[in-house]
């Protein structure tokens, strides 16, 4: 069984999802608990894979016994396994939160479909991270996207329906662009496998310069649309803001991230750092990234709806991820990979805590959340810790990744990106800290009651995620070590 470990993180969640879909619909609570169990098994599988890759090096798995170029390869290397564990861990946290028998903003029938769609998402995101074949990546992206449109629309509210349709239209444009880009890569290099296409790309780019440039541009547009990079972000505030809490946590925490990871994998495996440096991609990506960071932060400033504010903040932080990739130095690239991990933890914690806070307050209006820290101290404290992590206060994981990105910018002698990181962090502080201060220090209508906190199943993921924030801030080497290695393999020339 150990030899088949690379394919199991994709097969197990999909099989579990359809098995749960077959079960009867009456006992939704049991269904949710079983789903949390399946997510736990997935985390075990991914940890085992991480151990194997750590001991034996990258594992390549040829599905169906056919090796490339006839078959599809699945490759578990350092970057893939770290991201796999991230996906599995955050999904487990969200599923445990969803298994809580308390109040949810989803009806019971919708919760049944949420559980199935979330497990499908888990399997397809794992497939995206592991895949080594371009078309397999496209198919996994489509499964992820359709499941993502689904988990927005199961909340039966007009805003959620409109947001899901908008997400679908823009996401489908991105999918069409990605499909055309894959077709162009296949037409120019003759291979769909990323390693083989990468070997051919230098001659192909010399022979068909416009076609390969068009393919790169379409990859940027397609992945950028799905990752919420400015100027392709317009679906994100509506979709993440109007979805249910658990849906938003999965979307903001994981779905946009794996699309960014997909872009980095494609750009650096098929084109390679040397070829990319000769295209205008780094400059264009830097402009988009800085625009995301600054404008995303500025747009979040004026928001009164807590979840919309968190969604705009996601737009801003995806800017950090792409900035590190655009800069191209090892430190910056490792910083952006680390920021993918950090922001997933932070945003999941924020959305889950926000769900508990808004359920208690009965509204999403930030002004009505004053004084809620008295009634729900643990939740508000976790929200505060995660907010500090978003700002980048030393001691939290956000600080480490932003530090590395800025360090990478200064390595190359470019002050503007480092300055943008600083200004964007200040902007984050401007709109996050007042919420935390309001929650604890302002007077409000909330009393300190013994049963005021949410149930254990809902509270535990929030507190554990906040604890991970601090843990990764004080001991960053735990993940940074592997991500620096991964960055060095992807950027050999630097």
């Amino acid at each position: 069984m150990m030899a088949h470990l690379p394919i199991l993180p994709v097969v197990w969640p999909l099989a579990a999802a359809f098995f749960l879909a077959l079960l009867a619909a009456h006992n939704v609570g049991g269904l949710r608990r079983m789903a949390a169990g399946c997510a736990a098994v997935q985390l075990l599988l991914c940890t085992a894979l991480f151990r194997v890759v750590g001991e034996q090096g990258p594992q390549t798995y040829h599905a169906g016994g056919w090796s490339p170029p006839f078959g599809i390869a699945v490759r578990a290397d350092l970057l893939s396994t770290v991201m796999l564990m991230l996906v599995a861990g955050i999904s487990l946290a969200v599923m445990v939160y969803a298994a809580d028998p308390g109040d949810h903003d989803l009806s019971p029938s919708a919760q049944r479909w949420f559980v199935v769609l979330a497990l499908i998402l888990l399997g397809s995101m794992s497939g995206m991270v592991l895949s080594r074949d371009l078309f397999n990546l496209i198919v996994m992206i489509e499964i992820t996207s359709i499941a993502a449109y689904g988990i927005v629309s199961i909340r039966d509210h007009p805003a959620a329906l409109e947001a899901s349709l908008k997400y679908l239209m823009l996401g489908a444009m991105g999918s069409g662009a990605l499909l055309m880009a894959t077709a162009l890569v296949y037409a120019t290099t003759g291979y769909l496998d990323m390693s083989l296409a990468g070997q051919q790309m230098i001659t192909a780019a010399a022979r068909y310069p416009q076609a390969t440039m068009a393919a790169l541009a379409m990859f940027l547009v397609g992945f950028g649309l799905k990752a919420g990079l400015m100027p392709f972000h317009s679906w994100l505030p509506d979709a993440h803001g109007s979805a249910a809490t658990t849906s938003s946590a999965l979307l903001s925490g994981l779905v946009v991230k794996v699309n960014a990871i997909g872009f980095l994998k494609v750009a650096y495996s098929v084109w390679g750092a040397a070829l990319l440096a000769r295209t205008p991609l780094p400059q264009v990506l830097m402009v988009f990234a800085i625009l995301s960071m600054l404008v995303g932060g500025a747009l979040a400033w004026g928001q009164t709806d807590l979840k919309r504010l968190l969604a705009y903040s996601t737009v801003g932080h995806m800017g950090y991820v792409f900035l590190g990739a655009a800069l191209g130095s090892t430190n910056a690239f490792a910083g952006s990979l680390l920021h993918i991990v950090n922001h997933a933890v932070l945003k999941a914690c924020l959305f889950l805590a926000a769900g508990l806070l808004t359920a208690k307050a009965g509204t999403r209006d930030i002004a009505k959340l004053s004084g809620i820290g008295r009634a729900m101290p643990w939740t508000a404290a976790a929200f505060g810790v995660a907010a500090l992590g978003m700002v980048g206060v030393p001691g939290t994981n956000g600080f480490v990744s932003k530090w590395y990105i800025a360090l990478g910018a200064l390595d190359l002698g470019r002050a503007v990106p480092a300055l943008a990181v600083l200004v964007s962090s200040l902007l984050n502080g401007v709109f996050y800290l007042p919420i935390v201060i309001n929650a604890f220090l302002r007077p409000g209508p909330y009393e300190r009651t013994p049963g005021g906190e949410a149930g254990l199943a809902a509270l535990l993921p929030v507190v554990i995620l906040a604890g991970v924030v601090v843990l990764m801030g004080l001991w960053p080497g735990l993940t940074l070590r592997y991500l620096l290695d991964a960055a060095r393999t992807l950027l050999p020339a630097l």
């Binding site: 097969v11 599905a63 169906g64 479909w113």
Partner: protein, 167 residues
Amino acid sequence: MNDLILNVVARNLIPFIIVYGAYVTTNGHLSPGGGFAGGTIIAAALILAVLTWGLENTGLCDREEMLCGAEAASLLGYAGVGAVALFVGRPYLSNLSAGVPGGTPGALLSAGLIWVLGGIIGIKVAATLTGVYNRLSEAEDESPDPHAQGHGGGRNHGDGHGDSLDG
């Protein structure tokens, strides 16, 4: 509907369409066709039945859970067929290299597991397309409600299990 020509033609054609769909499904490894095309043809036959006699008379309206179950079961079957190769020690979804008898090229029972997977996909596609058509045609009977608010307005008899699961 009470139209005589439609009744007679549909009643006589639907079995042939289903048989043709099954033929296309099972011949996926020999000629153009396979699970997707065959499943679509079978779904066309079922949709013709729904169009001719209405959803209530076809006996498919109380079988929504069955269609949904057919979809999920076929996908589980697909995953299971792929897992058969794991027991022999070959990678997932291996075919001839896992020792599945290959047969002579050109015969019906050849190329290992491809026709099994094709059949499973045919059932899945037929169930999905019929289910989607049923959901969409149920919605026509509802009048648009521009002032609907909250959870109550969007619920109707078909909404019992949320949005349709496809893709």
